[in-house]
């Protein structure tokens, strides 16, 4: 069976002119932890545009119909599909009855590798399933919803239009950024025509910059007693509309899709980048609607770049109290493991360690839906020489890394240019694929580490079971049935924000019996006999929460005898039958 697949792949590979023949299985020796002979061959040391993502997703879904399903959850502003891979063992259980882990990438257009990291996760889960027991058990219990890019229009814009490593940040819906009544009238200009927007410098005897003696490509500021010979003129461009400003209204920054979510949202003049109202960006609206329709999503990851961070909310100091102590303990436990799994990554809190940001995706997921959510800021300068360093252009690390490991592939050498406004200048600097995006040879390794963190995150969504079901004859034909329900993972079925605001309905615990249920109660303390009765519909007890690494105890008084079984029906904890 396996051989047939391999032959098929080999056949396709030979049929396509660009693809070199794959090795035959005999020639391959498996490296530990990596699928050696994947059905879907993806090269994980390069990036893919929307067309590329579409193809990879389709291949995964076609190769593993019992593990992966592909759907479009909506269209982007320009009509691209927002692809979502649902990954679970479809042969075991019902998808919507399993705790879900949501993963997306690329909300910011230039922060591209989130899509590859997300796709790597889908690829790995499907390819490793066959011979990895842990993955088999995971996919029997859990479901992953993976949307590689929730901003495909501007992903393509980043790759195919002139940009720098920080542009565009937003989607492509046009905005009049400077309020002059004209839209996108002053874009970046790719003056040297290389599709990289770099920097402009000009020789000037009064300039305050000079060439860095350690690396002549770098410009450094001169000291107070020094004389410089260059001035920096900013990002490659022209004052196209003659208003005295260069590049002030273009596609590089229209709005910020990560200031468009329905918790703590603030308008444009308070939160730069905010659009009209929460979910006024079509891609975000599609995600929101998807999440609302999937209340089983208990955990989420939204990939960004850069800096090597595991971020949690709140985005604004106003919400410090929203992230209450019980929930922060859950966040801490999982993220601390993340710091171990991803060297160079630090666990940080947005408002405190980064900046205030209102209306961010992770705040809505957590505060609006009760989902434990992180944003990983992918790529850290630490990975260049495996030691602390910075992204600062005046830190020589980037130049050294480019020189000795990338052989100067990441830099556009300074070149003279005759500028219509500045006259004789030079244009040069780092390419758009350096500084924020991983260099090719580090991409797969960091994707794997981030995936491992997502798997750990997902593993700790609730896992419920009936650990004890005890019957006691009370006489007079009455039976007392006591059940202990355990949650063996870190996350509760309802985050404490969820309990406080009743975001999701309670967990329903049903005593399945043919006998008549006379009374039902939650047992607060079995030893001291403290109970709270539920008068209405006692056969289905409603529990506000089943705590992480904890239990709840329930008791029914039944007129008659067994057999008795239990059904646990929890939106985020899954549906579990138990009859212990």
């Amino acid at each position: 069976m396996k051989k047939i697949f391999i032959y098929t792949i080999a056949f396709f590979a030979s049929a396509s002119a660009i693809q070199v023949h794959a090795q035959s299985p005999e020639q391959i020796f498996k490296a530990s932890g990596t699928p050696a002979n994947p059905k879907v061959i993806v090269t994980w040391n390069r990036y893919y545009d929307h067309g590329g993502i579409t193809e990879i997703c389709k291949k995964i879904a076609a190769a593993y119909p019992d593990l992966a399903k592909l759907q479009s959850i909506g269209k982007s502003y320009d009509g691209r599909d927002l692809w979502c891979l649902t990954i679970t063992d479809f042969k075991k259980g019902v998808e919507s009855n399993k705790p879900g882990m949501y993963i997306d990438g690329n909300i910011h257009s230039n922060e591209i590798q989130g899509a590859e990291f997300a796709m790597y996760t889908a690829w790995y889960l499907t390819e490793a399933f066959g011979d990895t027991k842990f993955i088999q058990e995971l996919l029997a219990d859990k479901v992953f919803y993976i949307i590689p890019s929730i901003n495909p229009d501007a992903r393509d814009s980043y790759m195919h239009k002139p940009n720098n490593s920080s542009s565009p940040r937003s989607g492509v819906k046009p905005i009049d950024n400077d309020g002059d009544g004209l839209v996108n009238e002053d874009n970046y200009d790719d003056l040297d025509g290389d599709s990289h927007i770099t920097l402009m410098r000009r020789k000037n005897p009064n300039g305050r910059y000079k060439v860095d003696p350690r690396d002549p490509r770098n410009m450094i500021q001169v000291g107070p007693d020094e004389k410089g010979d260059y001035e920096l003129l900013g990002i490659e461009g022209i004052d196209n509309d003659g208003d005295g400003k260069v590049n002030e209204d273009g596609y590089a920054f229209e709005y910020d899709p990560n200031r468009d979510w329905g918790w703590g949202w603030q308008p444009n003049y308070i939160q730069n980048g905010a659009y009209k109202y929460p979910f006024s960006i079509p891609e975000n609206r599609a995600v929101m609607e998807f999440v609302m329709k999937h209340p089983n999503i208990a955990a989420a990851q939204s990939f960004h770049n850069a800096g090597g961070m595991i971020l949690r909310g709140p985005g604004g100091a106003e919400d410090v109290g929203t992230y209450n102590a019980q929930d922060v303990a859950v966040y801490d436990a999982i993220a601390k493991k993340g710091e171990e799994l991803m060297p160079g990554y630090k666990y940080l809190v947005v408002y405190k360690d980064l900046y205030s940001a209102y209306g961010g995706e992770l705040d809505w997921f957590y505060a609006g839906r009760g989902i434990y959510t992180y944003s990983n800021e992918l790529w850290t300068p630490y990975l260049m020489f495996m030691k602390e360093s910075t992204r600062d252009p005046f830190d020589n690390t980037s130049y050294s890394f480019d020189r000795y490991l990338l052989f100067q592939d990441a830099f556009v050498p300074w070149k003279e240019y005759d500028h219509p406004q500045y006259g004789k200048i030079e244009i040069g600097g780092f390419k758009k694929n350096f500084g924020r995006a991983h260099p090719g040879f580090l991409l797969e390794s960091d994707a794997h580490r981030n995936m491992a963190f997502s798997i750990y995150h997902c593993y700790h969504t609730p896992k419920l079971s009936v650990t004890s079901l005890v019957e006691k004859d009370l006489g007079d034909g009455l039976t007392e049935v006591t059940a202990v329900i355990a949650n063996s993972r870190i996350m509760p079925t309802h985050s404490s924000q969820d309990v406080k605001n009743k975001i999701e309905r309670p967990d329903y615990i049903t005593l399945n019996t043919k006998a008549k249920v006379v009374a039902g109660m939650l047992v607060e303390n079995a030893d001291l006999n403290l109970t709270t009765e539920q008068k209405n519909n006692p056969g289905v007890l409603e529990v506000n929460n089943i705590p992480g690494l904890g239990t709840v105890t329930l008791k029914w008084i039944v007129s008659g005898k067994g057999p008795f079984t239990i059904t646990i029906d929890s939106k985020k904890g899954g549906v579990v039958e138990g009859d212990k």
């Binding site: 208003d243 003049y269 309905r505």
Partner: protein, 524 residues
């Protein structure tokens, strides 16, 4: 001249006031279609969207020529579904102003100002007024789990006395916190324990605890209320607000239109919020002064915004001048000495309404308290009764024509305060060989600033642009080609000058969508 116009409007109002009751949605639609059909040059109507209840949200544009190029006022009714008067005032304005559009002053008004009218933002809810079971509904047709227990609509109102109206029930109880009003036993007031008063009644809305959770009528048909669904201080998760701000189609449709309507400088809405009777903002007190004078309404009850409301959204998030008024409230009644009435010893809106309505000859607005058998209070005395729904916030229909006339006058006169950019004191000085200095004053002639105070740094507001255009035979030697100004206060000017080399025509443009654009050609 002015007087004649208002007389004319008054006459038209009188002629059109055949209706005996508030308009149903079908009647609202017919009135809108009729008036637009009669004045196709001045008015257009379109459906912005259909609500989840399948009802149209209508938008009427009134103005002349290129309406989007003129400073505009947005007028919004049906902000709350139980406030029937709002839609009447907006549709009434459309009828009144269009019927008077033959006069010079209305012609001039509509040359200068555009009106965007949104008569009813709560059509799903407002129909409850005409339904078999009448209650003050503000929520739309979106399904909501108001008490967030996972079950939908499991505890609605119940018409226990079968009169087709949801009123109140009072339950005799030793833990009751209400007592009878000392001057009118039909009304109940809160007992004040600090004064040694003891309550005798529990006061609840009419209904049964259908789901036996100890709460009454906490999860009926519900729906999302337009005036709670806004983005400013949205009370996420509270009943009627929605799970996130602007969750409803009608909210978004209105926002979408307005955010792209850069010419709107003021939003005037009709609803429970009132910042027109008393206004602390000096920048706009002329507007409230005008309102109080024209409407003649006094003794307005204080209101406070509750979050998610439209009034706050228009000011805080849409960053335009925003005004709201209920348009009417129950006047303070005076004791009828002929009937030997005395002033109330305790001020109370219900007692006041009962006295006022009796003096007006309004009948059939109070259901006398009547004992019923109530399943949740088997051994207690339960009575159902009270003032009818709607009557405390909607005037008797016969008063609507007059209110409509007054509000039409207000909406017309407020446009006179409109910000208006003009160019003045144009001066050219020859400096030397073909070199000219051109100076000009840009002024805001209006009584309102061109932009409200939150308008800086906002995508959805256009700045004042001052630009000089020279020919290719001329060159701009001094001064800036384009200047953007955030705001100009009323009755202020800013001076600009340029040095231009070369002869021939230059053009200076100044303006912004909220205050109009002016340009002048100058020959050098």
């Amino acid at each position: 001249m002015r007087k004649q116009i208002f007389f004319a409007i008054g006459l038209l109002c009188f002629l059109s006031s055949f209706a005996q009751n508030y308009s149903t949605l079908a009647e609202q639609q017919a009135r809108i279609q009729n008036i637009v059909k009669a004045y196709p040059q001045l008015a257009t109507v379109s459906s912005m969207i259909k609500t989840n209840g399948g009802k149209d949200i209508w938008m009427i544009t009134i103005g002349t020529g290129k309406t989007e190029t003129k400073p505009a006022i947005a007028v919004v009714g049906g902000v709350e579904g139980n406030h029937l008067l709002g839609a009447e005032l907006v549709i009434g304005f459309a009828e009144n102003v269009l019927k008077a559009s033959g006069t010079d002053s209305i012609k001039n008004l509509l040359q200068k100002t555009t009106y965007y009218l949104f008569p009813n933002m709560s059509p799903d809810a407002s129909e409850q007024y005409f339904a078999k079971l009448k209650y003050e509904r503000t929520g739309n047709a979106t399904s909501t789990d108001d008490d967030r227990d996972g079950r939908l609509n499991e505890d609605p109102f119940d018409d226990l006395d079968g009169n087709g109206k949801i009123t109140l029930m009072r339950i005799e109880s030793p833990i009751g916190d209400y007592k009878l009003h000392p001057d009118d036993a039909r009304a109940l007031i809160k007992a004040d324990p600090s004064k040694g008063e003891k309550g005798k009644y529990l006061l609840l809305s009419e209904g049964i605890d259908n789901d036996k959770d100890g709460l009454f009528n906490e999860d009926g048909e519900g729906g999302i209320a337009f005036n709670k669904n806004g983005t400013y201080k949205h009370k996420t998760f509270s009943p009627g607000a929605g799970d996130y701000p602007a969750s409803e189609k009608e909210t978004r449709a209105l926002y979408d239109f307005l955010y792209d309507a850069f010419n709107v400088y003021a939003v005037i809405s009709f609803g429970s919020n009132n910042n027109l009777s008393a206004n602390d903002d000096k920048a706009t007190s002329i507007v409230s002064d005008l309102y109080n004078k024209v409407s003649g309404l006094k003794d307005a009850p204080r209101t406070s915004v509750t979050g998610g409301d439209f009034l706050s959204w228009a000011y805080q998030h849409y960053v335009r001048y925003s005004f709201s008024t209920p348009g009417w409230w129950v006047p303070k009644s005076k004791p009828d000495t002929a009937k030997k009435e005395k002033a109330f010893t305790v001020e109370d809106p219900i007692a006041n309404y009962l006295r006022w309505s009796a003096q007006q000859g309004i009948t059939d607005v109070f259901t006398e308290w009547k004992t019923i058998v109530h399943p949740n209070f088997s051994d207690q005395k339960v009575e159902v009764g009270g003032v009818d729904p709607f009557v405390l916030i909607n005037p008797p229909y016969k008063q609507v024509a007059d209110l409509s006339k007054k509000h039409t006058e207000f909406l017309i006169k407020v446009a006179a305060f409109q910000p208006e950019i003009d160019l003045m004191n144009v001066k050219t000085e020859s400096l030397a060989n073909g070199l000219t200095r051109v100076s000009v004053d840009v002024v805001n002639k209006g009584a309102l600033a061109t932009h409200s105070k939150f308008a800086d740094r906002n995508y959805f507001v256009k700045k004042i642009k001052v630009a000089v255009t020279v020919s290719d035979k001329q060159s701009l030697v001094g001064g800036k080609k384009i200047l953007l100004l955030n705001n100009m206060e009323p009755s202020t000017k800013q001076s600009f000058s340029w040095i231009i080399k070369g002869k021939g025509k230059i053009t200076i443009d100044a303006g912004c969508p909220t205050a109009g654009t002016k340009n002048i050609d100058i020959s050098l």
